[in-house]
Symmetry: C2
Subunit: 191 residues, 2 copies
Amino acid sequence: MELLENRIREDAEVLPGNILKVSNFLNHQIDVKLMDQMGEEFARLYKDTPVTKILTIESSGIAVAYSVAQKFGVPLVFAKKHKSSNVNEDVYSAKVWSFTHNQEYTVVVSKKYISSCDKILLVDDFLANGAALNGLIKIVGDAGAKVQGICIAIEKGFQNGGKELREKGFRVESLAIVDKMTDDGKIQFRA
Amino acid sequence: MELLENRIREDAEVLPGNILKVSNFLNHQIDVKLMDQMGEEFARLYKDTPVTKILTIESSGIAVAYSVAQKFGVPLVFAKKHKSSNVNEDVYSAKVWSFTHNQEYTVVVSKKYISSCDKILLVDDFLANGAALNGLIKIVGDAGAKVQGICIAIEKGFQNGGKELREKGFRVESLAIVDKMTDDGKIQFRA
């Protein structure tokens, strides 16, 4: 999506360690108009796909997911990060390894909010190694529901998450795929 | 707002300890259409108020705040919860006591995203004792910006937060004010 790529070029910061900082418009300050256009684009991409629910993880996935839910006119559910790995039987849960914080956390979704009838789009702001998404996929699977597709704002194409998910047969739509970043701030997008 | 009050009557759970659980439509599963109508109502209430930015706290404030930001056509900023109280000089910060988790946490906002020119609406899903909002008010004050008003989905009118903020001169608009809840699930709204 040219609009998002341009915005990344103008406004993102490349930090050492392959960090792409987009706090200016995506995950601390949020440009709601841009979000809205991203939601529109996801709706266009998945226009022939039946969707009953949008699922994301708190916190930085919520804004993108909201815009997608709005376009599809379906509820949004966000998985909650849980401090301990002890969860009760009212929730579906998955363990997720955070490469950013170098620790494992547990994500939970109340069993009330996903049923086996649900056709779900997963949404997140970033896709790198895919750990968070694989957690959500496990949760959807445990509920007997179906993942219809995955909506990502920015995919780090030089990490394996997207490739592996596509190889498993998931449809992954990323609005911008970064194939290369250099410490002097140059960003190369997949054509 | 009658729509929200009716939804609370139909869909909320009253749990022991004066807990009002609205995970079904407000802060775990989110009814985006309801959110949109709430945003519309806040826009009506503050229609004569200049607003340059919406500020909330992750995570459960984000969806309501998104809908308000969309109506005003301004950016949304969410304060982040910080694990340690050590913060760097690039952020405004405030300590907030969480009565729910019985511990103190720190919220931070990058100095880049609030300036002394900003006219800010604070948004949150709940107002009880006002601890989180007072943290946001401190942050806005530290930035030299102005709080134009406060937008709350559900205020617990039997706790002191709203009363104290109004006494300090803040305009607080709560779409539903619960004056009384009983363990058998009865909820009484302020007229």
